[in-house]
Symmetry: C2
Subunit: 435 residues, 2 copies
């Protein structure tokens, strides 16, 4: 049986998971791909800590270049995370003619185009199934099973930590801060979990999904991002009263010549399949012109699921190599990329329905003043809840609107927030009525 | 740009959908695979009816052999359904060295091994993404993205018609017969929808999923099947009171050297993600040793979703051919098949929790007599509902059990059904507490 040699750079959580899959399922992997997949070297700055799995110490090296320079290694697996070093190693490995597998979402979101072009230039394949959705094979599905479709809508719960936090806030009525502390203590969130809760991690993943749907990288900085830090249990409760759940959603829509792309908390109808994705699970909801709606659900992180995704890429490479093909697999699943890059429409141009929670003194004329400003900005109200109950000297006024323009909404809210009887900044959550 | 020529046999719903995808998305397909995909011939007994899409009449032929014998056709797409003719055409096409794409689940479930072996013998590839789950790319996901895993559990809602019927029975409290009539009138079910509601269609699909998970075909007749015809709105309501929904589930579990494989109505906890798959949607829930739980959800039938799946197979083939590979893609995603065929454990050997609905005369001693027989068969009761309300002269007695052996349950129920105060056959629904 032919053999394919792997070098792993980065022996942290995902590196150890990858090694564990390759070791534990060695035989079924060989049966499936028709090649022996062998780990030849593992590089990490720390080659002494116990990873909880048996590793031949001879495989370990402290120098990533030992992996990259090894002429017997066919595939370099980059699992160190971070951007600068990872980029350098990947480009060097490609230059040496090695295929690359990576789980690095930040790198691909920010430097994807450079990496994809390098793969093409050096004639090597690049796998990154593990960069989005952990154990959910969403990238493979988009490149293959769904590839006959023009993707119209993507909505993802792409960050497990923030979904866990929102689930706990919803189910227990707990405030954000106490759930965060609990999640950090349980090892479910980093301390502090900034990139998870501020929308950056989800936006990285959304950028990658968009590149596959459209065949070229997008400008990451143009993806609007807003985190979950301003949400309160009250907002989640009010959402529930209106028939919605609150999720941190990554949304992209094909607008023809432009693209909608944004990450923010959103209210979705309780009976939507995405509303029922709880705890640390991830899910990606897609609509295509032929397939209709599709959902993919699973564990978005963790040593074993992410290791499983890394190894699926290694297996695809092994299968490809076994055929002695005359070229590499195109990284984005497009042989011919679009001539012009896809541009993201600024969020100010978009429309949405909105939920507002105004915090106001309980005095006459408040509601009419707020409603007046909204009306002047062509924002039409569909429901109002005004509870008598005072919270810290003020009462919450909750409104749902019909579809309105984001730019108008931002102008109206900034005027409202200047009113003297407003006691706190207005909370705004976009409402996703469309599928 | 290179070109790949397609011949379609069968121009019904799926054939028309396939042609529609290839025509409407011609350009994005070429961008993605790097080849022009061209339909060269379409064979159908009826070449006159309007399919609602523009077709060059020169493509049409009444004779399938015109497609199979055409030396310029690279891929034969079999979409006539049924078993005998389809089998003949596929084997002939393979013999002529043509790659084959099919949506034919009955054929693969019953004659899969023969077809897989023929593909190997003639060195051609075989795609059948459309045979399970319509627009859900579950076969590709299992062959690629999940291929590093040992699959431990599969649970599928694989028949859209029966899921639609159960959803309507659950949401509206309507009886089976009236929902069936409604579904037939709406064109959502065939008349009569026998293979959909008796579990056969779901079992066909389960057999195909099992072959991919384990690398060889299974004996279809060994898959236990039970339909939804005996369920009443009362059973669904009682299930709801216990916290469950009723679904027609196709279940397979890896028992090590054997396999559990069965299709029957099952109760699943309301908060399980599968319990929230409604209407005509399909879903497949999988657990692997590394990836953990995964769910795939989408439209399991229909012209456009199924057409999208057929075309994804054509695209995979085109991508493969473009590399001028030294061999075909193995049909089951396994280069080396297991030496011995996987055997299915008879359902009598399995254990499950159960729901029973006994219909009994409202007389003293009934409950103790029933409970006695259950106890003698080591079936332990976890809950009982006995409502005073009489239905047609008898009262329903509802019981949930702890895990019990199927063979003991069948023996106990047949004894109970002989008791003189039993007015109707006992209804039994298996309860799926395990993920």
């Amino acid at each position: 049986m032919q053999q394919i040699n792997i070098g792993i750079i980065g022996f942290g959580t995902v590196g150890a998971g990858t090694f564990e899959v390759l070791t534990e399922n060695r035989e079924i992997i060989a049966d499936r791909v028709g090649m022996e997949v062998t780990v030849k070297k593992i590089a990490d700055l720390d080659i002494d800590s116990d990873r909880g799995i048996p590793v031949d110490r001879e495989l370990l090296t402290g120098d990533a270049m030992d992996v990259i320079d090894d002429p017997e290694i066919d595939v370099v697996v980059e699992l160190i995370g971070g951007v600068e070093k990872a980029r350098e190693y990947i480009l060097k490995a490609m230059e040496k003619g090695k295929h690359v597998v990576t789980a690095n979402k930040a790198l691909l979101a920010e430097f994807g185009q450079e990496i994809y072009e390098a793969a093409e230039k050096y004639g090597v394949s690049l796998g990154f199934e593990a960069s989005v959705g952990g154990g959910i094979p969403i990238i493979g599905a988009m490149k293959c099973g769904l590839s006959a479709n023009r993707i119209q809508t993507m909505m993802g719960i792409l960050n497990g930590t923030s979904n866990y936090i929102l689930t706990r806030m919803t189910q227990e009525g707990l405030p954000y801060d106490s759930v965060i502390r609990e999640a950090v203590n349980l090892g479910l969130a980093e301390d502090p979990p900034t990139l998870d809760v501020d929308g950056t991690d989800a936006a990285h993943k959304l950028a990658i999904l968009i590149s596959i749907a459209f065949g070229s990288a997008v400008s990451f900085k143009d993806i609007y991002r807003e985190g979950i830090g301003a949400l309160t249990p009250d907002d989640i409760r009010f959402a529930g009263e209106f028939g919605y759940r609150v999720k941190l959603l990554a949304i992209a829509r094909n607008l023809g010549d432009r693209l909608e792309a944004r990450v923010h908390p959103a209210m979705i109808p309780k009976d939507h399949i995405l509303a029922n994705v709880n705890e640390a699970y991830n899910a990606i909801y897609l609509e295509g012109d032929f397939m209709g709606p599709n959902l993919y659900y699973g564990l978005g992180a963790g040593r074993r699921p992410t290791g499983s995704a890394v190894v699926s890429d290694i297996m695809s490479l092994a299968r490809h190599i076994r055929f002695e093909p005359k070229g590499p697999i195109p990284p984005l699943g497009h042989v011919r990329s679009p001539e012009k890059r896809i541009l993201i429409e600024p969020i100010q141009e978009l429309t949405s329905a909105y939920y507002f929670r105004f915090s106001a003194l309980d005095s006459p004329g408040v509601l009419s003043k707020i409603a007046g400003i909204l009306g002047e900005h062509e924002i039409s109200i569909s429901s109002v809840i005004q509870e008598g109950r005072e919270v810290a000297g003020s009462v919450p006024i909750i409104m749902l609107t019909h579809e309105a323009n984001e730019s108008n909404v931002q102008k109206a809210i900034s005027l409202i927030d200047e009113l003297e009887f407003l006691t706190d900044k207005t909370v705004l959550i976009r409402v996703n009525e469309q599928s």
